[in-house]
Symmetry: D2
Subunit: 164 residues, 4 copies
Amino acid sequence: MTEPTNPPAAPDWTVSRWFNTDGAPSLESLRGRVVFLHAFQMLCPACVQHAVPQSLKVAAAFASTDLAVVGLHTVFEHHHAMGPEALQVYLHENRIAYPVGVDAYRDDDPTRAPLPLTMQAYAMRGTPTLLLIDRKGRLRQQHFGLLDDLRLGAGIATLLAEPA
Amino acid sequence: MTEPTNPPAAPDWTVSRWFNTDGAPSLESLRGRVVFLHAFQMLCPACVQHAVPQSLKVAAAFASTDLAVVGLHTVFEHHHAMGPEALQVYLHENRIAYPVGVDAYRDDDPTRAPLPLTMQAYAMRGTPTLLLIDRKGRLRQQHFGLLDDLRLGAGIATLLAEPA
Amino acid sequence: MTEPTNPPAAPDWTVSRWFNTDGAPSLESLRGRVVFLHAFQMLCPACVQHAVPQSLKVAAAFASTDLAVVGLHTVFEHHHAMGPEALQVYLHENRIAYPVGVDAYRDDDPTRAPLPLTMQAYAMRGTPTLLLIDRKGRLRQQHFGLLDDLRLGAGIATLLAEPA
Amino acid sequence: MTEPTNPPAAPDWTVSRWFNTDGAPSLESLRGRVVFLHAFQMLCPACVQHAVPQSLKVAAAFASTDLAVVGLHTVFEHHHAMGPEALQVYLHENRIAYPVGVDAYRDDDPTRAPLPLTMQAYAMRGTPTLLLIDRKGRLRQQHFGLLDDLRLGAGIATLLAEPA
């Protein structure tokens, strides 16, 4: 984990629907807190078998801190099988209690772009993708694929230790 | 694994739709072969994280034998999220190539029974459930929950070693 | 797991000292039973982390059968650190209760041969090595390195199913 | 991980022999660096199967930081089987390259105390035990048994983020 000298501001996310929250968490509203965002698809095997269980462990391990855990359902294939109603069941069955948003497409895009808007904004290469955003709203880590627990725990704690 | 003196005949399964096969495998058509049937739901966490990956390993480990591996999608909750089209995506994403059937409900049952027909016939308690059926079509093992690889491998091989 | 048409008779083992048994188990005395023999060194990392824990699981999973589990301490390096007294501690700490023998060297070999006698007889390439011997005393499987639980469970059960 | 308001100074360790270092690392010489010390016995199963492999992962994951990884061989039983020469083989076979010390007993103690001196100084309850010492030489975490990677990675990174 090398730190860039000048980390970029994390792009805003664009969400069409939120679960597990009454509001609509934004980067702005979370400013001052470290954000662990995991982008997933509910039928992506590596997400379901590894990244989502790991995110649940992160939420438990850092429950006493002010870490914000956010899920982002970045569906870019098989849309009919991973709609919001299916996602709701998935969240329920996996006992996911932190906020999860559905990455949005442009309403007026008749050709349906290949990737939803937040995936595009972050230039994500697929799922699962893990993001760490610092207290100042800067993107500090973006990882496509799996990350081992030791390094992920260290990455989160490093940002938690920084002043707001 | 204790063997009953007089194992019962395995009940027929009732399937509304098959995937990964042109035909419709039945216990009758598989007579003479050992059958490993795993009942699952595509949004059941223990199925997705453990039982289905294990079934894929079984299919690979016993590929040189005449073991028949069969999946049965026994949906008894959240039907709208686990329909056949979602299942098709799930099978594709997980590279499941052996036959998988959808456990059926009675067409003329206006109240929709709580459990599909094959679950009822086998008195299954939930998902995942593993079944081993011997060459004579007798139910030799039925296990609700997870089973470790060592015992499952032994259970299958024991039946494979029996004469038809 | 392919079976040779004409499996060779397993060579006798040559043991300088036994633990966990009053007698001295031999292939002759175990004739009629399937034998799972695991060759290990108490300071070989793959043995200690994987093969020995797996052997303990085998002993538990097949406790109701007549499988004979035998350990063989095949020390071919660092002799001063893996003598019988150190082995005794190792067996105690790991709660290994099945018979374990120390693979022997020739008493009158002043140059100390590079490998102990049983390793030589079986042409073992290193540790861990797993052996399966059938009820007729024939060597049916010999595997250097790690073997997954599913295949090992199947291999043992296949031999258990054969007549004596 | 709750932090004490006023963490105690870590006691000095007392080592009779060092491996993998020409010098003799002391808390004094490591002042300014975070220290991850893992106390183990080379024949303790939980150490060998979990804690030592985890310590090797820690050393790799934090190689680019100034974390000091130190092993301490705290033998309190079966001394004849875990002497320095056996330890040397163990370190070699497991490719442990960071400094490892042998926890010392008092030379003039004819009755051989039940625990070596550093174990006594830290009131360790057994092996494995993990210690985290901060840049100011204060004992910040002491854990008997296993600790999951996520929490250990976080604990180390938290201390690394503190000023010297």
